[in-house]
């Protein structure tokens, strides 16, 4: 901006301010106020000493409620839906319909949908309302305040912690939220790193897999409540790895591709407001949870059918899924995963919600059949296909760090209007995921930990 324009702007703006001040002075009276609770609470929430522990405790508490609370409904929904599958199968048998039709519709589509609903619905229905309540209360700006200095140190904008928080709901929403960042440089950093925040399409997966990891590590020695707490600790750990990665990649970007000094931002701490509980519950259940679930289901149904077809089409004495898994196998195992897992992540590009169901489908169609009843079947199937605690850990890390889903990539493209940045938004996380998984897997094997 040229100098004279700035000087003129200053004079114009100060005329406006002077008038606003006159009007406010004439119409506002302030009584002496009593004890200001907001200030006391704010001091606790944003102090150096207590701010971070409270943040971690809050995150841990929400995740714990989600892990523990989702377990039972998941079992119930799972057993109901899989009972329906048995019923459907008997209907198909009675009517004498061909096997392939039963395979595509019931074993492919319906079963994948059943996995998506039973694994995804309960955690989402608990996590999203909790998160929205915090948002309504006014906690997010305090989080932003706490993290401001850290983001500045990483060369990014303090408001990035707000867009990051929106990413917990959905990365695409988080990326649109990046419009609140003024500087294009800082905005791009926020857009490119939003994917490292676990979205609610990945939360349920992480929760399910963390339960398996806990089971592997402790062999039921903790009891149900202990296992729940441990599982939520692991998920908190994964979320923190994501935040650290956000900062690390922001730091690297602000020193390489997107060089520049962080700009100053004014952050407003609004007063706490009692959340509109009824509204939040209705809104986050109907509008967000059901919306996200429906979106996942529309992608999952055809994907499930496709996987069944691939898993039952024999080419050279082997089905196509096993062929693909064989090709991807060596690379997968080098990262602590296997060929089926890598394949599921690739097929899961449309939506993160369907990665785990697709993986289950590929294991089940290509390998051993296991009686499915609820979530126990999930861990049973995975362990039967050679999952160790290292596999579970690498799976979680890869899920956390890998490329964004198609919707998110599309949003990046719309927001940046550039194919190059969209490509980078896919390449950077993928590279990070591959490197981290290789380091973890090879490190663990070197130390003989697997």
């Amino acid at each position: 901006m040229s100098q004279p324009a700035t000087a003129l702007a200053d004079r114009i703006v100060s005329s406006l301010y002077r008038r606003a001040e006159e009007l406010a002075t004439a119409s506002v009276t302030r009584r002496a106020r009593g004890r200001d609770m907001t200030r006391i609470i704010d001091n606790l929430l944003t102090s150096r000493l207590t701010g971070f522990p409270i943040m971690l405790l809050t995150l841990g508490a929400i995740l714990w409620v989600t892990v523990v609370g989702a377990n039972y409904p998941s079992q119930v929904i799972g057993s109901v839906l899989f009972a329906v599958e048995d019923w459907l199968t008997s209907v198909f048998t009675t009517l004498g319909w061909p096997d392939w039709l039963h395979g595509v519709l019931v074993l492919g589509m319906y079963r994948t949908l059943a996995w998506v609903v039973s694994v995804m619905l309960p955690p989402m229905a608990i996590f999203l309302p909790c998160f929205t309540l915090l948002e309504d209360l006014g906690y997010l700006p305090r989080v932003a305040f706490n993290l401001d200095a850290i983001f500045k140190a990483a060369g990014a904008c303090g408001k990035q912690s707000l867009t990051m928080s929106m990413g917990f709901g959905c990365n695409a929403a988080g990326i649109i939220a990046c419009r609140i960042i003024d500087s294009p440089r800082e905005r791009l950093i926020a857009v490119l790193t939003n994917n490292f925040i676990v979205c609610n399409g990945r939360f349920p997966t992480l929760i399910a897999v963390s339960a398996i990891l806990v089971n592997q590590l402790t062999r039921d020695s903790l009891g149900a409540s202990g296992a729940g707490a441990f599982a939520s600790l692991i998920v908190v750990g994964v979320v923190l790895v994501g935040i650290v990665m956000t900062l690390a990649v922001s730091w690297v970007l602000s020193r390489t591709l997107l060089r520049g000094a962080p700009t100053f931002v004014a952050l407003e701490l609004p007063p706490f407001r009692r959340p509109q509980v009824g509204r939040v519950l209705v809104h986050s259940m109907l509008d967000r949870t059901i919306f996200v679930l429906l979106r996942a289901m529309t992608v999952a149904a055809p994907a499930g059918a496709l996987v069944w077809v691939l898993g039952n089409t024999m080419v050279g004495g082997q089905d196509i899924v096993s062929h693909l898994a064989g090709i991807l196998g060596p690379a997968g195992r080098f990262m602590g995963l296997d060929g089926f897992i890598v394949g599921a992540f690739i097929l899961g590009l449309p939506a993160n919600e369907i990665v785990l169901p697709i993986l289950m489908m590929s294991y089940l169609t290509a390998g051993k059949m296991i009686k499915l009843d609820g979530l126990d079947a999930l861990s049973g199937t995975l362990v039967a296909h050679g999952w160790t605690s290292l596999t579970a850990l690498c799976y979680m890390l890869f899920s956390l760090l890998h490329w964004p889903c198609a919707t998110t990539l599309l949003t990046v493209w719309k927001e940046t209007n550039s194919r190059r940045w969209t490509l980078l938004a896919a390449i950077i996380p993928t590279a990070v995921a591959v490197i981290v998984c290789i380091v973890v897997a090879q490190g663990a094997r070197l130390l003989g930990l697997e």
Partner: protein, 262 residues
């Protein structure tokens, strides 16, 4: 996720119907309760949350008041119409290019002064404005009392107190909106007088700008924007080049200039 959850579509009028209704825009500083007010008026479920900057996309809805319909637009929060961030410019461009039938400036009663700054700017854009002083319950708890009559007299536009969360004051607000729409309320905004040399420059620029603008556009405010060095809104051949040097970040990377601005 878009503003329209799957449930809302049924009761929503078609675009053609909705565009026939008077257009009412909600403008205001971030986190003053615009989206809450929007939801209360339209019955829609626009996402709300207690943090500044939450609304980045405009949402449209329809409200009925005394058997007439109005289209309501929820604008992203902005501290100033002279702002530079992408989401703030949405509000500014929207108001300047085709001022709505009525613009409701939603203000936080708790920090009126800062909010009035925006109200004064909106009054530069349009005569047809209402000041909605929201969150008056919260302000009262903090010991802040407002004299709305003094405020209305000082601004020259209707001033209404509301608590949008509880639906208080919405009738009065819509009465004021309806009054401006049907001409029963005529506002006489008391505009800010800038220093004489600035006023003179503005008058000259305004005349120059009017030629390149769609009818009804706020030439005076666009002139102020140009004087302040703000780029012209997208889609106008308006602002003279000399006054608006293109603002490019020093760190421009490849593919960068193509625009992050939506």
């Amino acid at each position: 996720m878009g503003p329209d959850g799957p449930r809302d579509r049924r009761r929503r009028p078609t675009v053609r119907q909705a565009s026939a209704f008077p257009l009412v825009a909600l403008a205001g500083n971030p986190n003053t309760g615009k989206s809450t007010l929007f939801n209360a008026l339209t019955g829609l479920n626009q996402h709300t949350g207690n943090w500044p900057g939450k609304t980045v996309l405009m949402a449209h809805g329809v409200t009925r008041h005394r058997s007439r319909s109005y289209t309501i637009v929820d604008l992203p929060g902005t501290y100033s119409l002279l702002a530079s961030s992408a989401e703030e410019r949405v509000a500014s461009d929207f108001l300047c290019l085709k001022p709505p039938d009525v613009t409701v400036v939603v203000a936080d009663a708790g920090c009126l002064e800062r909010n009035l700054n925006l109200a004064l700017q909106v009054m530069e854009v349009t005569d047809r404005a209402v000041l909605c002083v929201n969150l008056v319950d919260e302000a009262r708890q903090r010991g802040i009392e407002l004299d709305l009559r003094v405020l209305a007299a000082g601004l020259g536009i209707p001033v209404v107190a509301t608590v949008a969360r509880k639906g208080r004051g919405l009738l009065e607000l819509m009465d004021a909106v309806a009054g401006i729409c049907d001409g029963s309320i005529v506002t006489s905004p008391k505009r800010v007088a800038y220093e004489p040399d600035i006023e003179e420059a503005l008058a000259r620029l305004e005349r120059q700008l009017e030629r390149g603008l769609p009818p009804g556009a706020a030439a005076r405010w666009l002139a102020i924007r140009a004087l302040c060095g703000d780029p012209a809104p997208a889609g106008t051949a308006a602002a003279p080049r000399a006054l608006t040097p293109p603002v490019r970040p020093a760190s421009a990377a490849p593919g960068f200039g193509k625009g992050l601005t939506p």
